[in-house]
């Protein structure tokens, strides 16, 4: 009997058109706790190094965790794990909505996708049944049209559709997988991987349940979480969504602007959460079972950027299609967000690729001849929206932008390198490592998927947020130092921030719920209570920490096998230069190497190579990953 899990893995081979259902091994699952941890084990063991992520040999894992689809309020997510065609590294993309819970209700904790279909197909999973169905008639449709067509075809309005749009079909290297119309497994190019496999969509629905080992204790633990969350430190998430950060970050000089040239945007008020709320918001949107509802549901009634009601924009998208391109027009941003949703594009890499092109145009590295006469000037919302269209269809200059900033810079020559703001090929998101948090600077350098602010955690919780998230008992240094402090201790802090975030990753939980302190968020200790009651396993916070460390190390080993070492753990040169203006003028990153030394050492990793030492891997039971 399984509690908290469906207990099954579905393996779909698109080449042969066959599938099989595998029973999970309880001991092996518990070792990794589930979700991303178990997916890391699957991909490490089943996908040898050096495989082209766009080849039939590449595998994709759709993963849920123990809390997915349960009463636990953070259980609305699922994760897509794969090797990224944009970076060549491990990637995991989390998405909310209802897809994850419905997959579990359909009877599966994991779906492993292998091979390549000869003709376009979609996979339909419903109540334990699996069908691989033709999708030729859907190829060329956008995500919204695909979703509508599938609802009609399957005659079930309650299905959850995760689909690619034209961007994925066309192989845009940062194409996203969009589920439930407006929720994105956004980063790293999973849409291009689906496209390379001729896989248009995965459709799920299920009406089965999830068994709970100790229902009374589970209900009590969840009630405790709900009570604690009444004191959640970020009260603006429900009311303003994540977009509430725009005005706050601008006031602090930490709002990335004009391709990270600066961190202060004069017209920030025009694109703030307050303005969005007042002028364009229809209502809030929540993932399955979530009481925060950080999602926005907005539209633009008329004008050149008229947009039907859609989910978004959130903070990243506002900054990336707005200030990062110098754009101060919220209507253009909403329109650009809508197009990214329907074409299936990661809004972060899209915005950063556009900003990179604007900077190259300003410097004369791109000219009107390259752009078919379209001036790529900072702040032009119309141009930004046109470029989104061109990227999705790889049309004209869009074919260049569709490759991301690392490859663009390689083609435009050394003078363009300085404008390519990425780590390991992943364009940086809307958090400023010079002035928001130096723990974040460490994360950007070492995150397994490249320059990332969310996997495994929002690293600014310690110095920017002043929150311990329940980690003091494990040794998290306290009290926090200033946001711009660059002492090596920040590398030590990152170990705790990363492992605390990884706990959410292995449980399949939304990371937002883990930010706070005892009594105001779901701490590792409270997760241990919830998971114990749910699964019947006697799980402690210490066991969650060990499983998190196992998962974190295994992802590092995955990247090591692909050739990544300490030499790749670096930041764009721009961050060693001072922020030129605004409230944080003068801030820079000067001491990354010393912070990294401290981080590797506290992780038990070799300082020279930055890789897990054999004794650390043995300690974690990862002997198979020792080289």
């Amino acid at each position: 009997m399984w509690y908290g899990f469906a207990g099954k893995l579905l393996r779909v081979n698109l080449t042969s058109g066959e599938f099989k259902v595998e029973e999970l091994d309880k001991n092996e699952l518990r070792k990794y706790m589930g979700c991303v941890g178990y997916a890391a084990r699957l991909l490490y063991q089943e996908m040898p190094g050096g495989i082209d992520p766009l080849s039939p040999e590449a595998k994709v894992v759709l993963a849920t965790g123990a809390v997915t689809g349960t009463l636990c309020p953070s259980g609305g997510s699922y994760e897509v794990c794969y090797k990224s065609p944009l970076t060549g590294t491990w990637n995991q993309a989390r998405s909310g909505g209802a897809f994850g819970p419905k997959l579990k209700y359909a009877g599966f904790d994991f779906v492993v996708i292998e091979g390549k279909a000869e003709e376009p197909v979609y996979v339909y999973i419903h109540d334990g049944e699996v069908e691989i169905k033709p999708a030729k008639h859907l190829w060329g449709l956008n995500v919204e049209e695909t979703t509508d067509a599938l609802i009609r075809e399957l005659d079930d309005p309650e299905i959850s559709v995760a689909a690619i749009g034209q961007a994925g079909e066309n192989g845009v290297l940062y194409a996203a997988l969009i589920n439930d119309r407006g929720r994105a497994a956004g980063r790293g190019g999973i849409g291009a991987v689906f496209g390379s496999k001729n896989l248009k969509a995965v459709v799920v629905n299920g009406r089965g349940g999830i068994k709970v080992a100790h229902p009374k204790e589970f209900a009590e633990a969840v009630e405790k979480a709900e009570q604690w969350l009444k004191n959640y430190p970020f009260g603006s998430i429900p009311s303003l969504g994540t977009v509430g950060l725009v005005s706050l970050n601008n006031s602090l000089g930490i709002l990335p602007t004009k391709n990270f040239h600066t961190a202060y945007f004069e017209q920030a008020d025009q694109v703030s959460g307050e303005t969005l709320n007042r002028k364009y918001q229809i209502k809030r949107r929540a993932c399955y079972g979530c009481s925060f509802a950080c999602g926005r549901y907005t539209s633009v009634g008329n004008g050149k950027f008229a947009t039907p009601p859609m989910e978004g924009p959130e903070y990243e998208t506002v900054d990336m299609l707005g200030p990062i391109c110098g754009v101060a027009d919220l209507e253009a941003i909403i329109r650009g967000n809508y197009l990214c949703n329907v074409y299936g594009l990661d809004t972060i890499s899209t915005g950063m690729s556009i900003a990179f092109a604007m900077e190259c145009y300003e410097k004369g590295l791109l000219t009107d001849r390259d752009t078919e006469g379209m001036p790529l000037r900072w702040g032009d919302g119309e141009v930004m929206v046109k470029l989104v269209e061109k990227i999705a269809h790889r049309e004209g200059i869009g074919a260049l932008l569709a490759q991301g900033v690392k490859r663009m810079a390689e083609q435009l020559g050394p003078a363009a390198e300085e404008a390519a703001i990425h780590v390991k090929g992943l364009e940086l998101p809307a958090h400023e490592p010079r002035s928001e948090s130096k723990v974040l600077a460490v994360q950007y350098a070492v995150s397994p998927r490249g320059g990332c602010h969310m996997h495994p955690n929002w690293a600014s919780t310690w110095d920017f947020g002043q929150l311990d998230c329940g980690m003091k008992e494990f040794g998290l240094p306290w009290p926090p130092t200033g946001m711009q402090d660059e002492s090596p201790q920040k590398g030590v802090v990152y170990r705790y921030v990363a492992l605390q975030g990884e706990i959410s990753e292995i449980l399949g939980a939304c990371i937002f719920y883990s930010w706070g302190t005892e009594g105001s968020c779901i701490t590792p200790q409270l997760y241990a209570e919830i998971v114990s009651a749910l699964t019947g396993w006697d799980v402690t916070a210490a066991e969650l920490m060990t499983a998190a460390e196992r998962s974190w190390n295994l992802k590092r080993c995955f990247n090591a096998r692909e050739g990544f070492t300490r030499k790749d753990d670096k930041l764009p040169g721009r961050f060693t230069q001072a922020i030129p203006d605004g409230p944080s003028a003068g801030a820079r990153v000067e001491n990354l190497d010393a912070m990294l030394d401290a981080y590797y050492e506290t992780m038990g990793w070799d300082r020279q190579t930055g890789l897990p030492a054999p004794e650390k891997l043995r300690e974690l039971g990862l002997e198979f990953a020792i080289n």
Binding site: L240, T242, L245, L248, S251
Partner: protein, 77 residues
């Protein structure tokens, strides 16, 4: 003495007039803490305070013409 005050984000929900800079009369020598208490803003709801674009602490002594912004905690992905 007069300063101008702006409340950002959710702090402005209770006092919409302060969503833009709004004048407040103070006595000479008053600090950020006294201003915050006068406005009825609980300490745990204010994460940062800036004066003329620079972060300051609760003990900062205000002077004529200061532009003060109270910021709540916020987060995002």
């Amino acid at each position: 003495m007069q300063v101008t005050v702006k409340l950002l984000g959710i702090l402005s929900f209770s006092y919409p007039a302060f969503s833009k800079f709004h004048p407040v009369q103070l006595k000479e020598g008053e600090t950020i803490r006294e201003l915050r208490e006068r406005l009825g803003l609980p300490l745990n709801e204010v994460r940062f305070v800036s004066v003329n674009g620079k972060m300051v602490g609760e003990e900062y002594v205000l002077v004529e013409g200061d532009e003060v912004v109270f910021l709540p905690a916020a987060s995002g992905g």
